[in-house]
Amino acid sequence: MAGYESAQAAEQAFYEAFEHGSLAMMTEVWADDPDIVCVHPGGERLQGREAVLESWGEILAAMQDVVVRATDVVVLGHGNLVVHHVREQLFVDGQRRGVVLATNAYRLTTEGWQMVLHHGAPDPSPPPALESAGLH
């Protein structure tokens, strides 16, 4: 397992794994720690590596032509623990499909920076997508 040079690099890898639908990449992102925890929007708490990666396996298998842009990032961190609050913008086939407001936490482990927490909440009132987006 390879960690990352910074929390920012780990986050970039997290969203790349998402876009590529790659469980192998997602597996690298998460810390090998029984305390890791993941809450998908409106979902249950998934704790521990097995439960977290199993959920991502299901989600990533359905990923096709998905682009995720993390915007409005607030970085709160100190030393070996960094927390990002982000607005994830999801685009499918060039169409904006939704927004997830998320908290991501990263720790500097012996392997490098890795994700220890992901908490996503659906945005109940995303701004309307641009009419021209993705249309012919």
């Binding site: 925890v37 809450v39 929007p41 704790q47 623990l81 927390v83 927490l117 909440a121």
Partner: protein, 144 residues
């Protein structure tokens, strides 16, 4: 507040009392604090926005009962990221039928431990199971 646990206890005391002064004493006085309430379309940032958001929360009657449980956390000497699961009992229900997830970040600052980030979101809402008890643990499915 000498520890993240103490600060978290102060948060729930302020929340239950709907005491805005106490709530803002829990928060760091920093421009980069961030607060997201369940169902809110965006996060509130900075002391003025965060305070305004809590004034709005406290202006409504809290008619649900919550039982917070600390379920996960990552801590160093100067920062802690904690996940709390709040079991929610709504009016007319005898037992919890849903949950709210709260991730919070506390920082050790000159004044002691303070809240710098709060993100609350609705979890699964389920009818009571046949035994009459909502089971928070378990295989709920969701997509990202």
């Amino acid at each position: 507040m000498n520890s993240p646990e103490e600060a978290r206890a102060a948060y729930y005391a302020a929340f239950r009392a709907a005491d805005i002064e106490a709530m803002m004493r829990v928060w760091a006085e920093r421009p980069d604090i961030v607060c997201l309430h369940p169902g809110s379309p965006r996060a509130h940032r900075g002391v003025a926005e965060v305070m305004e958001s809590w004034l709005l929360v406290f202006s409504r009657e809290l008619n649900i009962r919550i039982e917070p449980r600390l379920v996960a956390g990552s801590e160093t000497d100067t920062i802690a990221c904690l996940l709390t699961e709040e079991l929610v009992t709504r009016p007319g229900d005898l037992t919890p039928t849903g949950s709210i997830f709260v991730s919070q970040t506390y920082r050790k600052l000159e004044q002691g431990w303070r809240l710098v980030q709060h993100h609350a979101s609705h979890g699964r809402r389920a009818p009571p199971n046949p035994a009459g008890v909502f089971v928070a643990e378990g295989g709920g499915q969701s997509t990202h």
